[in-house]
C-alpha cells in the first residue's frame, strides 16, 4: 500500500478556527478525503504540511429548505445524503449518484466534489511512476506532456456535481478572513489545471445553494468506461424552461473537457426562443461538439470523447424534451 507523507492533522470545531489555521503555509482542507488521501499518497502535494479537517464543524452539515424554495446544502453533506434527499432536484441527485462508487459516496462530500482537484494521467499516478518521466507542469516541471507546445496545464475538471449545479443556476457561500460572500457557482472555477478554483486558499466553501427548478426540466449524462467508480470523461448537464412548445431558457454545461465546467452559451442560444424539434436539437448538439476540444489526459481517446459530445448532448436534450411533452422528437 502507498504510504501517506508525514503530516500534521488539525480538526477545528468552528469555521473561524479553520480559517485561521488555513493562513499558515502548507495547509490543505480535507472534507471526506476520498480524493485528497490518494493524491497525497501519490505525493501530488509536496508542499502539504498540515491537513485541516472540516468534519468537526457542525455548521457545514445539513440540508435546509430556504424560504425562497432554494435548497441550501452544507458543504460537508455526504453525496449519499444528497442522493437520498427528495427535496433536491432529481437531476442534482442523479449527478451526485454518478460520482464514484457507493462506498465513496458515503464518505465523499458535496463540497469535496465541487472542489475536487483537476486530474491528468501524467499526474494522478504514483510518484515512483512520475519519476520515469520528466515531471509535468503541475508536478513542478516545465512541460505539460499533454500539449508540450504551450506552458499551460490541461488537467481536467472531474466533478459530476458542478456541471449540473451550474446548469441549475446554483450559488456557493464562501467564508474567509474577510467574512462571507456568495458567488454564482460558475464563478468558482477558472480554466487552469494548475489552479482551477477562484476562491482564496484561506476561503472555505460553506454551502451550495440551489434555486428551485419550478416547472423546468433538468438532467445529467456521464460518459465513463464502467457503471461505477470511474471519474467522468465527459459530463453533460442541461436545464430547459418552456412556454408551451417554445424553449424560453436553456442552460448547457459540459464537464470533464477542460479544467473547469464549461458552459456553452452559444449552444444555449440555438435552443432558446424556439420549439425544440429534432433538427434544432441536432444542430445544437453538433454545435456543442464543435465548441469543445478534449485533450488526451484521461481514459479513452480525445477524439472519441469529442465525438461523444454531440451524442450525449442530443440524447440528453431528447430525453428532457420527451419528458416535458413539449415537442415530439424523432
Amino acid at each position: 500500500m502507498l504510504r501517506l507523507p508525514v503530516l500534521r492533522h488539525a480538526a477545528p470545531t468552528t469555521l473561524d478556527e479553520a480559517i485561521e489555521l488555513l493562513a499558515a503555509e502548507g495547509t490543505m482542507l480535507a472534507a471526506g478525503g476520498t480524493d485528497l488521501v490518494p493524491n497525497l499518497k501519490r505525493r501530488q502535494y509536496p508542499e502539504a504540511k498540515t491537513i485541516v479537517s472540516l468534519r468537526r464543524i457542525p455548521e457545514l452539515r445539513g440540508i435546509d429548505l430556504l424560504d425562497d424554495g432554494s435548497l441550501r446544502i452544507g458543504a460537508l453533506t455526504t453525496l449519499a445524503e444528497l442522493v437520498a434527499d427528495d427535496r433536491a432536484a432529481p437531476a442534482l441527485r442523479e449527478a451526485a449518484r454518478a460520482v464514484a462508487s457507493p462506498q465513496l459516496r458515503s464518505r465523499g462530500t458535496v463540497g469535496g466534489n465541487l472542489c475536487v482537484d483537476t486530474r491528468c494521467h501524467w499526474l494522478n499516478v504514483p510518484e515512483t511512476w512520475r519519476r520515469a518521466a520528466e515531471p509535468c507542469l503541475k508536478a513542478g516541471g516545465d512541460t505539460c506532456w499533454v500539449a508540450p507546445a504551450k506552458r499551460f496545464c490541461w488537467a481536467v475538471s472531474s466533478t459530476d456535481l458542478a456541471p449540473m449545479a451550474i446548469a441549475l443556476d446554483a450559488t456557493v457561500e464562501l467564508a474567509g478572513p474577510e467574512g462571507r460572500r456568495r458567488i454564482p457557482l460558475e464563478e468558482l472555477y477558472r480554466n487552469d489545471g494548475m489552479a482551477h478554483l477562484t476562491k482564496a486558499p484561506d476561503e472555505i466553501l460553506v454551502a451550495l445553494v440551489v434555486p428551485p427548478l419550478g416547472d423546468r426540466r433538468a438532467g445529467y449524462r456521464k460518459l465513463r468506461r464502467r457503471g461505477s467508480i470511474d471519474f467522468p470523461i465527459l459530463g453533460v448537464a442541461a436545464r430547459l424552461g418552456f412556454d408551451g412548445e417554445v424553449c424560453t431558457d436553456a442552460r448547457l454545461v459540459v464537464g470533464a473537457i477542460v479544467s473547469a465546467p464549461l458552459r456553452l452559451p452559444q449552444v444555449e442560444a440555438l435552443l432558446e426562443g424556439r420549439p425544440l424539434d429534432a433538427a434544432t436539437i441536432r444542430a445544437a448538439a453538433e454545435a456543442a461538439g464543435k465548441a469543445v476540444r478534449p485533450m488526451s489526459n484521461t481514459d479513452l481517446t480525445s477524439r472519441y470523447r469529442k465525438r461523444m459530445v454531440p451524442v450525449f448532448v442530443r440524447r440528453l436534450l431528447d430525453e428532457l424534451v420527451g419528458a416535458s411533452g413539449a415537442t415530439a422528437t424523432s
Partner: protein
C-alpha cells in the same frame, strides 16, 4: 481405474472448508502476519526502461537511523528463472535494468516510512539505453539487445513445426482464408498484492512465507539464489487473495525478504504496492497472430497454418512455454489433419509476461474462433455447423500427438446452443443486438514438470488419530480456487466423512509432501488423484482390520457416512479407526500421481501441451451494442463446461462465473498498455476491470464426461471456461452490427472505427493488417500419428 462416488460427498455443493474464515476475515493472508521485532523491507526500483547501472552508493541510506540493512545486486548475484532454459533474472539488478520497476536495491528498516525514506537516499547513476517497446522494434538488429551481447535482434525464442503436409492440405481445399488478429496484453489484478515475510528460526533455518501459488519452486529457487541447501529453508505459502497465475513465478521481494532476514537476523516483511504488482506482471502476452486455413466446401478443415508473435517483456519467465501454448492446443477442439505452427517471442523493455488464466491459449483461441466464424460465412454455413464438422473425437490423438481422452465438447456445444436459442437468434435479432458462439479446451495439468525429473508431480499423505480425525497433508497452495476443499472432499468421499470434519495441512515445504503448485489447472487432477490413492489405501487398512476383528469377510465390511458397517453391525468411524490402529499401529497412507508417459509426441516442443485430460467449454454471448457510442453491453452468457465430474458443484460454478468475469474484462476493457516503457496507469482506477454492474447473468451448464483417469472422473475448471468467452463476444458484436473487431479489448472507439469503415464501403473491420518483418526458420517436419497418414 474409474472410481465412482457413493457417499454423496463428491458432487454436492457444500461450502468451502475455509469459507467461514474467508467470509469473516479470520483467514491469515500474508500481510496479516507480524512479529514483534519485525523489520519492513522496501525495494528501490528502476525508473528507466533500459539502462546500464554505472554506480550505486548506499552510504546515505545506511546512515539513516532505523535502517538495518541495505542490499544491492552484488549481495544476490546468482541468476534465476522459473524455467531451466530462462535463468535471466536477478533478485536485484546486476549491471543493467530492463524495465521500469526492475528491482535495484533494497532496505530493511524499523518501519515502512523509514524504509521508504532510505530508498530515496540510495544514489544510483544510470546510463540510459534505447528502449524497445514493441514487436516491430524487437525484430530489428540493435547494438544493445535487452539480453545478451549485440548487435542482434531481441528475439527470445522461436518455434517452427509442421505436422503432416500442410501445403497439400491447402491444395486440396475448396476455400482458403487468412486472417490477422491482435490480442492485447492484460494482467491478473488479484486483489491481494504480493508479499513475503522471512525469519531465521530458533534452529537457524530460514522460514519464508509468501503469497505464492508455487511454494516448491520458490523453495528451489530460494536455495539457489541464497546459496543455502534446500533443507535449511522452509517455505510456507499463505492462502492468497487471488492468484490467477500472477503468483506462479518467483519474485525479487521473496528473495530479498529472505536475504534481509539472514543479514539482520530479524523477521522482515515486504508487501508490494499495487504499482509494484503491475511491474511484476507475468500476465497475458500481447500476441499478434495470423491464421491460414483450408476448408472443403462443406466446411471440413484440410490444413492450418498458424503464426504467432509474442511481446514477452523484459524476461523469459514462463515465456518459452507460453510461446508453445499459443500453438499447441488449437488441435484439441478441432480435427486438423495437417498443421504448421510458427511462433516467436520477443524481449521488450516492459514487465515480463507469463502465465495468466489460460496461459498462452486465450490469444490463439480468440483468433481461431473468429477465423472459423468468418470461414463459415464464406462457405454459407452457420457457426454451429462448421464447428460440428470439425470436432475432435473422444479417445483420439491429435496431429501434434496430444492424447485426447474424455471429451464432452459436442455435448457442451449442443447444450449451450439449445439453452441460448442460438439458432433462432443468430442473424435474426434487431440491429444492435447479436449472439456469438465459440468453444475452447484446456489442460488438466501440464503433462511434464517444469524441471526435468521422474518423480511424482503430486504426493499426499493422510493420517488418522485415535479420535477419528483425518488429516490430509499436501503442498497444494489454495490460491482461492478451492484446492483445500477439493482435497477434503476427495478424501472425505473415500472415507465417508464430511469434508468440514477433516483437517487439511497444505503448502508448507516442512510439513507437506510435494505438489508442484497451483498452475496449469493441475491440482484437482493430480493432487486429487494422489489424495484419492492415499485415502483408498487408508480405507483398506480400516476395512481389513475391522474384518479381522469381527471375523468376517473383508467384502462384508463397508464404509458408510461416518460409520463402518460389517455383517449387520455398525461401528462409528472412530471405533473402526481404533480397531485399525490396534491392528496396524499408526494409521497413515500415502498416494502419488505422475501423468502417464504416452500422452506426448517425440519432438522438440512436444513437452508443452500434453495433459492427462482436457476440459472442454462452449459459450454463447448475447450482446447489445450502441452504434453511436460503441459501447458493448453483454446481456447474457451461456457457458457449458465439461468438468469430467464436479467434485464440488458450488466451486465449479464459482470458477465458471469468475472466468466469465475475467473474460469480460479481457474482451471489453482490460489492457496492460504503455506509453513508451511507462505503464499507462498502474492502479485499479486506471486499469479497468468490470464492476458488478457490467457483469451479465451467467447460465452455467455442467457437462460431466467422467474422465477415466481423473479423481472420481474430475477434470479442470479453473481456466478453461475463460477461453471461449472473448471470441463469443467478438462474434456477437459482428452479429449485432456487421462489423469485425479483430483484437481485444473491443474498446468503444474501435467499434466506431469499424462502423465508420463499413459506412465508407469498407468491410467494417478494425484490427491489425500487417505482420512484423520477421523470417521464421523453415518448419521441423514431424511425422503425424498413424491415423493421419
Amino acid at each position: 481405474m474409474r472410481i465412482d462416488p457413493t457417499h454423496g460427498i463428491v458432487g454436492a455443493a457444500g461450502p468451502r472448508v475455509d469459507g467461514l474464515a474467508q467470509a469473516t476475515g479470520t483467514l491469515r493472508f500474508l500481510d496479516d502476519l507480524a512479529y514483534p521485532d519485525m523489520l519492513w523491507g522496501k525495494i528501490l526500483r528502476s525508473h528507466h526502461g533500459h539502462a546500464r547501472i554505472v554506480s550505486i552508493d548506499t552510504s546515505r541510506a545506511e546512515a539513516l537511523p532505523g535502517v538495518h540493512a541495505v542490499l544491492t545486486g552484488a549481495d544476490l548475484p546468482v541468476a534465476f528463472g522459473l524455467l531451466p532454459v530462462s535463468q535471466d533474472e536477478h533478485a536485484l539488478a546486476v549491471d543493467k535494468v530492463r524495465q521500469v520497476g526492475d528491482p535495484v536495491a533494497a532496505v530493511a528498516a524499523d518501519d515502512p516510512d523509514v524504509a521508504e525514506a532510505a530508498c530515496e537516499l540510495i544514489d544510483v547513476v544510470y546510463e540510459p539505453l534505447p528502449v524497445v517497446t514493441s514487436i516491430e522494434e524487437a525484430v530489428a538488429v540493435v547494438d544493445e539487445p535487452i539480453h545478451g551481447e549485440g548487435p542482434r535482434d531481441n528475439r527470445h525464442r522461436e518455434v517452427s513445426l509442421e505436422f503432416g503436409d500442410v501445403d497439400a492440405g491447402f491444395e486440396a481445399a475448396d476455400h482458403v482464408r487468412e486472417d490477422v488478429f491482435f490480442y492485447q496484453g492484460n494482467t491478473h489484478a488479484a486483489l491481494e498484492p504480493h508479499g513475503a515475510l522471512a525469519l531465521v528460526d530458533e534452529t537457524g533455518r530460514l522460514h519464508l512465507w509468501s503469497s505464492t501459488q508455487v511454494p516448491h519452486y520458490l523453495h528451489r529457487i530460494a536455495a539457489k539464489v541464497l546459496e543455502l541447501p534446500e533443507h535449511r529453508i522452509r517455505v510456507t505459502a499463505n492462502p492468497t487473495g487471488g492468484g490467477f497465475g500472477a503468483k506462479t513465478d518467483v519474485f525479487s521481494h521473496e528473495l530479498v525478504a529472505a536475504k534481509l532476514a539472514l543479514v539482520t537476523g530479524r523477521p522482515v516483511k515486504i508487501v508490494l504496492t499495487r504499482e509494484e504488482v503491475f511491474y511484476c506482471h507475468r500476465g497475458r502476452h500481447p500476441v499478434l497472430m495470423w491464421f491460414k486455413t483450408g476448408f472443403t466446401a462443406d466446411g471440413r478443415i484440410t490444413a492450418m497454418w498458424c503464426r504467432t508473435y509474442l511481446d514477452g517483456g523484459a524476461y523469459g519467465s514462463y515465456g518459452a512455454a507460453s510461446l508453445l501454448y499459443t500453438g499447441q492446443l488449437q488441435t484439441t477442439t478441432y480435427r486438423i489433419p495437417a498443421y504448421r505452427f510458427q511462433g516467436a517471442r520477443f524481449f521488450t523493455n516492459k514487465p515480463a509476461c507469463g502465465p495468466k488464466r489460460g496461459h498462452g491459449t486465450p490469444q490463439p483461441r480468440f483468433g481461431l474462433e473468429i477465423h472459423l466464424d468468418k470461414a463459415a460465412e464464406d462457405l454459407g454455413l452457420d457457426p454451429v455447423t462448421i464447428r460440428k464438422r470439425n470436432l475432435v473425437r473422444p479417445f483420439s490423438t491429435t496431429v501434434n500427438h496430444l492424447r485426447i481422452t474424455s471429451c464432452g465438447l459436442e455435448e457442451c456445444l449442443d447444450r449451450v446452443v439449445a439453452a441460448s436459442g442460438f439458432a433462432d437468434k443468430h442473424r435474426s435479432l434487431p440491429p444492435g443486438r447479436g449472439v456469438g458462439l465459440a468453444v475452447g479446451a484446456y489442460m488438466s495439468g501440464a503433462g511434464l514438470p517444469i524441471y526435468f525429473n521422474d518423480m511424482p508431480q503430486s504426493e499426499v499423505m493422510v493420517k488418522v488419530d485415535r479420535g477419528g480425525l483425518v488429516t490430509v497433508y499436501s503442498m497444494a497452495a489454495d490460491c482461492g480456487q478451492g484446492s483445500t476443499t477439493m482435497l477434503a472432499t476427495v478424501v472425505g468421499e473415500a472415507l465417508g466423512l464430511d469434508p468440514g470434519d477433516l483437517k487439511v495441512v497444505t503448502a508448507d515445504t516442512d510439513l507437506t509432501p510435494i505438489d508442484l503448485g497451483s498452475y496449469s489447472s493441475r491440482v484437482t487432477f493430480m493432487a486429487g488423484n494422489a489424495a484419492l490413492e492415499a485415502a483408498m489405501k487408508l480405507a483398506d487398512l480400516v476395512l481389513t482390520a475391522v474384518a479381522d476383528e469381527l471375523d468376517v469377510d473383508p467384502d462384508e465390511v463397508a464404509i458408510g457416512r461416518g460409520v463402518v458397517t460389517a455383517a449387520g453391525r455398525e461401528l462409528t468411524w472412530a471405533e473402526a479407526v481404533r480397531i485399525a490402529e490396534a491392528r496396524w499401529g499408526l494409521l497413515s497412507a500415502t498416494g502419488s500421481y505422475k501423468p502417464p508417459k504416452d500422452i506426448k509426441g517425440d519432438y522438440k516442443g512436444a513437452g508443452v501441451g500434453p495433459s492427462p485430460a482436457y476440459s472442454y467449454s462452449a459459450c454463447v454471448a448475447e450482446v447489445d451494442c450502441d452504434p453511436e457510442t460503441g459501447f458493448v453491453t453483454v446481456e447474457k452468457i451461456w457457458l457449458a463446461h465439461d468438468v469430467g465430474r464436479a467434485i464440488n458443484e458450488l466451486l465449479v460454478r464459482g470458477q465458471v462465473e469468475g472466468s466469465v468475469h475475467m473474460a469480460l474484462g479481457e474482451a471489453l476493457m482490460e489492457e496492460q498498455a504503455f506509453r513508451g516503457a511507462l505503464h499507462d496507469g498502474p492502479s485499479l482506477l486506471d486499469y479497468k476491470i468490470p464492476t458488478v454492474l457490467e457483469m451479465p447473468p451467467v447460465e452455467t451448464i455442467l457437462v460431466e464426461s467422467v474422465d477415466p483417469e481423473g479423481p472420481f472422473g474430475a477434470k479442470e475448471v479453473g481456466q478453461g471456461p475463460l477461453l471461449p468467452v472473448m471470441p463469443a463476444i467478438a462474434n456477437a458484436v459482428h452479429d449485432a452490427l456487421g462489423i469485425r473487431v479483430d483484437e481485444v479489448p473491443l474498446r468503444p472507439d474501435k467499434l466506431l472505427a469499424a462502423l465508420r469503415d463499413l459506412e465508407r464501403g469498407g468491410e467494417g473491420r478494425y484490427g491489425p493488417t500487417k505482420l512484423p518483418d520477421y523470417e521464421f526458420r523453415s518448419p521441423l517436419p514431424v511425422e503425424p500419428p498413424p491415423e493421419f497418414r
